[in-house]
Symmetry: C2
Subunit: 279 residues, 2 copies
Amino acid sequence: MLSTFINRASRSLKEKNSILCVGLDPALPKQRQRYIIPCKYLAKSSSAEDDDSEARLNFCLDMLEQVADFCAAAKMNEQYLRGFSSIQHRKLTNAVHERGLIAIYDCKLGDIRDTVESALFHLHNWGYDGITFNPLPGNMDEVVKIAHSYMPHIGVIALTLMSNPEAEVFMRNARIDSKPLYVKIAEDVETYNADGCVVGSTGYVTEDDIRIIRKIVGESRLLLIPGIGVQRGDAEKVVKVGGKNILVNVGRDIIYSTNPRAKAQEYYTVFNSLRKNVL
Amino acid sequence: MLSTFINRASRSLKEKNSILCVGLDPALPKQRQRYIIPCKYLAKSSSAEDDDSEARLNFCLDMLEQVADFCAAAKMNEQYLRGFSSIQHRKLTNAVHERGLIAIYDCKLGDIRDTVESALFHLHNWGYDGITFNPLPGNMDEVVKIAHSYMPHIGVIALTLMSNPEAEVFMRNARIDSKPLYVKIAEDVETYNADGCVVGSTGYVTEDDIRIIRKIVGESRLLLIPGIGVQRGDAEKVVKVGGKNILVNVGRDIIYSTNPRAKAQEYYTVFNSLRKNVL
């Protein structure tokens, strides 16, 4: 039986008529040169050591308000939300839910049993619907069981083929029982009833790879596709072979554009016209 | 050239005459039945949703005060510190440093380049000396470069053979170029000048495994060994073949004992007598 997470995700995709997932990854001006939150969000007293978590939260809330009409989900990468309190996380997930989106916490969780239990205790309190999961510790079975012991179920989306080019070394070139690692991971997703796969859309990932993964995990599970936009993944390839239940994540190209709402609408329109052509 | 992290770790090991690393993993009473922080730390107003981060911090600070004399390092698993603000993290790392220990953040970081940069920006601000790293994304080279672009360098300790039994599937049974994955990971640690390896000490990990890893990464790099204590790893095996630069992590068995100081001293004494016999 599929998890209640899958049902929520499917409903969101249908009701919003969108496969767009906005990546809410707020970076500070002292952190890098480009793709940063505008200075207007920062407190005047902000110091070099200050992590400006309230500023980052407010930026995320504003972005959400601007783009939510065109999105089915929001994905927050934990490396950009470091230092958020549980109250700040809850404000963010509440805002995501109020707009009919699902909230995915991209924390790439991968640890031993007791530790995973601790992680999910906190992430559940923070209000996230699903998480990304790193399968290297080999315990997908128990992680899914723990995540699905919550009601509603917490979705577990396993890193299967990541978007960075170096991911090929471990995820495609490595073998288990003469199968590529990503095939073994996809099989585990099916076997242990996880909720989906993270599948890149960039250079080294081929149409065939996506087709193989979809075939293994079945039509209902979610494919979460990062790498579109600044990372230049190929949306057409993904929509063509990814099937119905995909979420295509676009982060920087939307939230750091001069007009995030217009940019989100642009992706929404492009994705929907691609879907019309192939589905 | 070895990183400044390795120097700091070696100095700590020598000055404290200890290979013990205390695992500061504070779990709340509402989170599980056993191995929980005492109720005296919790605020009277604590609710089911409250993450009691101040209570968890105070517990960690007290534990540190009790056991620091016998430890060279403290390892905090991020899944138990979720919800800590940057100020709380800094209080904790300051206390660790004031007692001459190094602070390792066990966050199993594994992500694409830009995201890793964001993670290390925050973790550096929080004051951690080193992190654990999940090598599945295949980009150890760039992660080490980013971590070592900070001064002092942030240490990168790669998951090589984890302590949970299921880890065998991916970490030992999988092959890259006909080598077990853990051998490839250890080779990457040496090639890309990472700072050490996480190597379990439990059932499936053999003396030979540890010997192979040590041989590949050289004598100076750190082996961080979890799984002793509640997870029942074999300390003798580890000390015998691990070499000088090892840190043996004990978490629950110390911090949740009725007398943490005595328990830490007990491990300290046992480890040092084992070392005397084999080194």
